[in-house]
């Protein structure tokens, strides 16, 4: 075998330097166009993209339980006894819980009560979908983040991943805790995760979500955000709006007018 120890070391050193250079380059590669989010620029014009706008002024100091009941009744959401077992699709929180880091000691009195309706935000970049090992939760083309209960294995990664606490786990069989079963919608079984589905089954029939329908004063508005003339876009263009935990980059599609 020809070549000295010196030659061998030179070749080895050169190869290592080359490899190191390559990997450094791939690390420094910029994010692709689609990954970047530019404020004020709507994504994907043309397709339907469902979104909701909540007018906090109209919600403040009101009893919202009617909206929550409408949703929970239609979707066979059980009323569990123990706090740990509670299943929630839509509920209300004080301003500071819904918008952490945005509250201060002078927040108006009504907003200190449980007055902000919260639900699944149907994020544009949903962390729950990224972590689901079976793709039981997935994002539809119209933006709805759906659950396929048939595929859910109950690992609860999505519950950990969701920064809004929108997901609940069925620790026990929910059937006995449903007061009145709606025969048009399935129940869930022990061991699956569930959450708001933006009333995908009602949208399919051309209806608005149950909470929007139950809300008579227009505090909740639901429409296609990709349509520049939609109710949602009109409101967002004329009023100041915020989203929950915007810093996380999940891009929620439930907007709050303040």
């Amino acid at each position: 075998m020809g070549g000295s120890r010196r030659d061998f070391l030179k070749t080895a050193g050169a190869s290592l330097a080359l490899l190191g250079g390559l990997s450094a380059e791939s690390l420094a590669a910029p994010l692709s166009e689609g990954e970047l989010f530019r404020p004020g620029e709507p994504l994907k014009e043309g397709n339907v993209r469902w979104a909701m706008v909540v007018d906090l002024k109209k919600c403040a100091g009101k009893d919202l339980s009617k909206l929550f009941e409408a949703c929970h009744k239609i979707h066979n959401v059980p009323d569990m006894e123990r706090e740990k077992d509670k299943i929630k699709w839509i509920w209300s929180e004080p301003f500071g819980h819904a918008f952490p880091n945005q509250e201060h000691e002078y927040v108006a009195r009504p907003y200190q009560e449980k007055t902000v309706p919260v639900m699944c935000n149907h994020c544009e970049r949903p962390p729950c979908v990224r972590v689901c090992p079976t793709q039981a939760t997935f994002k539809r083309e119209d933006g709805i983040v759906m659950m396929d209960m048939h595929r859910c294995i109950g690992c609860r990664y999505c519950i950990v991943a969701c920064p809004y606490g929108s997901r609940s786990f069925n620790w026990r069989n929910p059937r006995p805790y449903i007061k009145e079963i709606n025969p048009e919608f399935p129940t869930r079984t022990k061991g699956v995760v569930e959450k708001c589905n933006f009333c995908a089954e009602r949208i399919a029939r051309g209806k608005e979500p149950a909470c929007v329908e139950a809300c008579t004063d227009g505090a909740l508005v639901f429409d296609d955000i990709n349509d520049p003339n939609s109710k949602v876009r009109q409101l967002l263009e004329t009023r100041y709006s915020i989203r929950r935990k915007p810093v996380l980059g999940t891009m929620p599609h439930v907007f709050y007018l303040v």
Binding site: D148, M149, I181, P183, E184, R188, T189
Partner: protein
């Protein structure tokens, strides 16, 4: 061959014993191995013809499940009558096959299969 007679006799007895299930079924009339399912309350045909449904209804239901949940396609075009149907186990299948106990369970119990559809789907949508 030593003891040839004994060996052959033993083999014949052994063969008769291991083929016993075949003899037993042949001896019994096939009527004993059939079950009677409840006829649908109305409707002249199913989503496909009877023989196909009998063998493949689970595939149809799985296809419906995936199409409804994952693709949002909720309408089934029935080639037998040209009508459109909502792809729903509780609200379309059970609309005609009115009793889960007398239709689904009857055959599933006979075949020894336990599908878990009814853990979530409502088995008596009309509250019977």
């Amino acid at each position: 061959m030593y003891d040839g007679g004994k060996i052959i006799t033993g083999l014949v007895i052994f063969l008769i014993l291991i083929t016993f299930p075949i003899w037993y079924n042949l001896a019994n009339s096939p009527e004993q191995n059939t079950i009677e399912l409840e006829k649908p309350a109305f409707g002249e045909h199913c989503m496909k013809d009877k023989e196909w449904m009998r063998a493949n209804h689970m595939d149809l239901l799985n296809t419906w499940r995936d199409e409804v949940v994952r693709e949002g396609k909720r309408t089934y075009h029935n080639e037998l009558d040209g009508q459109k149907y909502n792809k729903s186990l509780s609200n379309t299948c059970l609309h005609c096959h009115r009793s889960k106990e007398k239709f689904c369970d009857e055959c599933h119990n006979f075949m020894g299969v336990t599908p878990y559809c009814w853990d979530c789907h409502i088995e008596n949508p009309r509250g019977i």
